[in-house]
Subunit: 356 residues, 2 copies
Amino acid sequence: AEVKKIAVIAGDGIGPEVVAEAVKVLKKTEELFGYKFELEYGLFGGIAIDEKGTPLPQETLEMCQRADAVLLGAVGGPKWDNNPKELRPETGLLGIRKALGLFSNIRPAVVFDCLKDASTLKPEVLEGTDLIVVRELTGGIYFGEKFRREGANGQEAVDTCVYNVQEVERIVRQAFEIAQKRSKRLASVDKANVLETSRLWRETVNRIAPEYPDVELEHVLVDNCAMQLLRRPSSFDVIVTENMFGDILSDEAAMLTGSIGMLSSASLGEGSFGLYEPVHGSAPDIAGQGIANPIATILSVALMFQLTFGYAEAGQVIENAVKSVLDAGHRTGDIAVDKSKAIGTKEMGDLIVAAM
Amino acid sequence: AEVKKIAVIAGDGIGPEVVAEAVKVLKKTEELFGYKFELEYGLFGGIAIDEKGTPLPQETLEMCQRADAVLLGAVGGPKWDNNPKELRPETGLLGIRKALGLFSNIRPAVVFDCLKDASTLKPEVLEGTDLIVVRELTGGIYFGEKFRREGANGQEAVDTCVYNVQEVERIVRQAFEIAQKRSKRLASVDKANVLETSRLWRETVNRIAPEYPDVELEHVLVDNCAMQLLRRPSSFDVIVTENMFGDILSDEAAMLTGSIGMLSSASLGEGSFGLYEPVHGSAPDIAGQGIANPIATILSVALMFQLTFGYAEAGQVIENAVKSVLDAGHRTGDIAVDKSKAIGTKEMGDLIVAAM
Ligand SMILES: CC(C)[C@H](C(=O)O)[C@@H](O)C(=O)O
Ligand SMILES: CC(C)[C@H](C(=O)O)[C@@H](O)C(=O)O
C-alpha cells in the first residue's frame, strides 16, 4: 500500500498518554489492512516552549507540511498560562491552523449510549442528538488586527473581525456538502441584525443555497442558537458558523451530549489534508497517572481514516471496537459509574486494539 | 409622594398586551402605597417604523430622557426583518441603549418552582440555580466601526470591537457591587487567550478586584463558560462579561432555567435611571390573541421599583403576588401543563393585582 505520512504531536498534559494508545490503533490497522504509516514526532505547545523557546517550532511546522495528516494530543496547562502571548501554547495552536490553512473545524456532537446519563440534559430531550458543528477556523476576530491605543477616555484595546466573500464561501460550501451526506439540514448561525460580517455571511449563504436545493436551510441568530441547542438539540443536523461563535457553540454542543471525553474533531483545509484531535483538553490535573481516557483520540484516528485517507472500512472497524469495549462494560475513570472498577489508559487502548 | 415619570413603550407583537397588565400593577401600587406615577406613552420599534418612518423617533427618545424609568414591552417581527438597517426595530434598540447611556444589562436567571420541570436540564442539576448575568451593553463589537471594503480577495466586511479602560471599569464595579449584595461570587468571562479587548478586560478586573476583598473572583473563558453553565449552573452567582458574549450567555442561562417566559431584565446607566423589559421577545405568532404571559413584564415593574425607585417593599409585594397566583395553580398557555385550563393575559394580570 501507499505509504501515508502522519505527523504526531503528543503535546502537553495527558496528550502523550492518549496519543500512545491511538498510535497502537494505527499500527493495528497496518497489520489488519496492510496499510503503511510513516510516523514522525514533533514538539508543540507548552513542551515546545520549554525545550525550543516557541510553541510552534519551525521544524514541527515543516514536519506537518510534509505529512498527509496530523494527529494531535492536547496542548496547554497552568505552567504557561501567564506567559506573554508569543510564549503561550494557544498562540501555537492559532499559528498552526493559519500556517496549514486549516479553515474548517468539524466537531461531531453525538451521544454515546453508555453515557447518556452523564449529560445534564434530560434523556428524552437528548434522544437522537447527532449534530456536527462546522466552524470557520482561520478568519474573523481571531486573526484580525489587534492593538492598544490611547483614546479620548484613556487606553483602549481593539480587535478587528474581518471576513471576505471567499472565506465564507468555502466554509459554507463544505457545510452544505456535509449536510448533503447526512440528514440534509443546515443551520447557518450569525448575528446579522448587528454585525456587518454576519450580513456578508448571510448574503453569501443565501447566494450559494440554490446550488444545494436538497438541503433545508435555516438562519439562526447566535443568541437564539445558544438557546435552541438546549431546547431542541436533536433538531439540529449540521450547524455552520464563524470562528468566535463556533468556539462557543461547539463547546456548548459538546457539553450537552455529556460525552465530552469521547468526542473527536477534524480541522481541514483544501484537499484531503487534516489535523485530528480530541475535543477535550490537556487535563494537567490527571496527567502522568495513566488514567486518562484515550477514546476521543482513538476516534480521531477513525475520523482521519474517513476524511483524509478514505479508509472508510478501517474507520468503521475502530468505531465498532470502541463500541464493543464499552458495551462489555469497560470504563476509564472519567466515564465509570463505579470508579473502583475503572481501568487505565493503556488497558483501554489494549482492549480496543484486541477488539479490532 | 414625589411624582415618578415612567416612559411606557408598548412596542410590537404581544408588547401592548403584556404592558397593559404591568400598568394595572403600577396603578395598584399607587392605591396601596400612595405612589404617584405619571405615565407617558411613545412609539418605538416596528410600529414606529410604520407610523413615523424610524424605529426610534426623536419624541420617543425625549420622552425617555424626561422620565425616571422606562418600561418596554417588546419590539420586532417578521414584517420588518428584511428592511434596510436604518428601518429595523433592532436598530432602534441599539440606538436607545446608546442614547440613554444604558451601559449595563442585568439579567437574573432564576428557576420558578412551578416551572422547574419545564427546563430541559435535570432537576437535580438545576436545583438552587439563581444567577445574574451582568452584560456590558453600549460597547464592544456592537458599536465599533462596521463597513465593507474591497480586499485582495474581493469584497470583505469588517466589524471592530473596542473597549476602553473606563467602560470596563464601570461595568465591572457594578458587577462586584451586585455580587457583594448576593453570594459574593463573581465570574468574569472573557477570551483573554485570543482577544486584546479581553486582555484589557481581565487586567482591569484584576486591578479592581482588591477593592472588593469579600468577593470571590474567577476568570472563565467564554467557551468554557458556555459549558460550565450547563454542567454546574447553580455554582454561578454573578457573571460579568462584554456585550457580545453577554448576549449569548445570558440567553443560554435564561433558557436553562426553563423559565424564559417569566424573566425580567434591567438596563442601567449612571445614577438610578433604568429601562425595564421582559427577556422574551415580541412573539408575533400569538400577538393580539390575549393569551400572552404578562408575568415577565409585571416582574420588570418589581425590578424597576427595586433598582430605580428604591421601593423595595412594593417590589416584594408584586413578587409575592405573582408567586401566590402561580401557587394557586393559575397558568397562561405557555406555562400550563393542561393547556385547556390556561387563562388569558388579562385574567392573569387581574389575578396578580387582586393578590397584591
Ligand atoms: C485554545 C483556544 C485558542 C482555542 C480556540 O479558541 O480556538 C480552543 O478553545 C479551541 O476551541 O480549539
Ligand atoms: C435584538 C438584538 C439587537 C439584541 C441584542 O443582541 O442585544 C437582543 O438579542 C438582546 O439581547 O437584547
